[in-house]
Amino acid sequence: MRRTSTPPEKWRDAIVVVVLLAVLPCLNAFTPEGSFLHVSNFSINLYGKYLCYAILAISVDLLWGYTGLLSLGQALFFTLGGYMMGMYLMRMIGNLGQYHQPIPDFLVFLGWSNLPAFWRPFSSFAFAVMMAFLLPGLLATSFGYLAFRSRIRGVYFSILTQALTYAACLLFFRNSLLLGGNNGFTDFKFILGYDLRAPATQRVLYLATASALALVYLGCRWLSHSKFGLVQQAIRDSENRVLFSGYAAGNYKLFVFVVASAIAALGGILYVPQVGIINPSEMAPDKSLEAVVWVAVGGRGTLFGPILGAVGVNALKSWTTRAYPDMWLLILGVLFIFVTVFMPKGMIGLPGQLRDLKRRFRPAAPPPPEVEPAAELSKIK
């Protein structure tokens, strides 16, 4: 029952890890600028951002592809994690802000002269990171508990998650929440005493992100191969059978939902110091929808697909928004429709689809050896 990854998959994973964790950072650090091998600081920073999105995409897929729960609010947990990290980074500005006060500029602007009590512990990095997991985790626990206890499924679950992120978005737009209103947090200077604008700091953040992604990938692979993973996928395929086999499906879904929220939060924690800004528009519903598109494009129900999709679609976005700034949303929409209709298994499933096509157009060739159906289906999966 333990489906370990096939040899080609192992090679693929190993190559990706070496490229992301060794080749790219080394090319950035040890090659001279202007060399054709050089990876610029800008690129490293950009790739770091993509990998944060890849972590978010895995969290979407853990729910959608593996459990059949289409969450349209996963960016909420990502952004909440980011906000907690942002609060720490705001404290690290010290009095180097525009107003040269010991409190964040937007608080000065709102007429505060002392730090509000709930801001104080965020001077501690450890506290901020703890809160970055705790807050999304608690929100996911309480929302998930209510939703799954009431047996909210399918499109109703999707709509509720969307409403949740929209409600949070509206809340965070308010200045009275004392989290920077619609401007959010920006103008960060230091993290753990290191200058955020220094290439070396950015490189370390990039490395941390790539390592985090690798760990999330391995953790999710372990999970999907455990008996828990079997139950999780059984819920996706036949929830009634699971219930009538004595499993409290709701508890399993709650567990996955909370784990996915923590993974999304991890992405957000790493995203903010690299991108240098966090504001409520990151939890607007369209951000979560975009993450769903990444997963669909890459291939849901696989762990490599979401990474491929997140990096691929965002690279396309970066290029399009420079080359044809007005076309992006149109391209994204067409891409989603195209993938849904013609590539139901995403980029990951493309080689298999092409093989099938080739087979169909070469009737003269000898029939392929009788494949055991199990092998056939596992490829699809």
Binding site: S226, L230, R241, S245, Y247, E372, P373, E376
Partner: protein, 256 residues
């Protein structure tokens, strides 16, 4: 009364259920002995599947008592709690996990822990493997253990689901139209399978196919408009005036 009650593995008394004005079950009384194989027949809409829904906690009765074994009230429990008491249910359309292997399908059904945290660190033991092998041998799918369940034929999926029920080691098995969509040969095999389970479990079978009913039935209960029309052997039931009127009679007219 209470002395008699203990003999029954399952008891429904005065059970009624109305769906938006439609009386699916009305004042139903049903008693079943331990180890019995009972066949329930009845025309479409007679309330057969609703009855199973009520027993398994999928829906709750408006009125009436549903008791299992010694005074366990089923009307307050939900599906997985009822299953854990030892009541297994097979659905009308085969519901197996199509992306899991046949082996994994049975593994998930094996009697044992159902908790989230034990499942994270569960390792399949040799004992579990041999239990799974035994179940697959019983339902004739031992050579298909490594196949994805989605690749099985319709009949094989039905058997796999029955195997998944056996793996749960339930006291009471509820089987909803196991022969639906099967060839004659498969139907016969299914009948033998169910007969081989007789005595080890108490079994309720809902069925339309009268050849199949004749093959397996000891005692037949005829359901009509949500309550019991009559009970008895196949011959008794087939010769009952009321049954001929509402069910068999109609069928005979079609045949002529």
């Amino acid at each position: 009364m209470s002395a008699r009650r203990k003999e029954f593995v399952l008891m429904l008394e005065g059970v009624s259920k109305t769906f938006s004005g439609f009386k699916a079950i009305s004042n139903l009384n049903f008693y079943m002995d331990e180890g019995e194989l009972r066949v329930i027949i009845g025309p479409n809409g007679a309330g057969k599947s609703t009855m199973l829904d009520l027993i398994t906690g999928r829906t709750r009765p408006d009125t009436g008592k549903i008791e299992y074994g010694r005074d366990t009230d089923l009307t307050r429990l939900n599906e997985y709690q009822i299953n854990r008491l030892g009541i297994g249910r097979k659905f009308q359309t085969p519901s197996v996990y199509i992306y899991h292997t046949v082996f994994e399908n049975v593994l998930l059904s094996l009697k044992g822990s159902r908790g989230v945290f034990p499942s994270l660190f569960h390792r399949t033991t040799e004992e579990e493997r041999s239990r799974i092998d035994a179940v697959l041998t019983t339902v004739g799918l031992a050579d298909r253990a490594g196949w994805k369940a989605g690749a099985l034929s319709h009949g094989q999926k039905q058997w796999l689901e029955i195997g998944m029920l056996i793996a749960q080691e339930p006291k009471l098995l509820l089987v909803d139209e196991p022969a639906a969509g099967m060839s004659d040969e498969e139907t016969h095999k299914t009948g033998e399978l169910l007969l081989s389970l007789e005595g080890k479990h108490s079994i309720v079978v809902i069925e339309h196919d009268m050849t199949f009913v004749r093959q397996i039935a000891r005692k037949v209960t005829v359901l009509h408009q949500g309550s019991i029309l009559c009970e008895g052997t196949v011959d008794q039931v087939q010769n009952d005036e009321r049954v001929i009127e509402v069910y068999l009679g109609r069928k005979k007219k079609q045949e002529h």
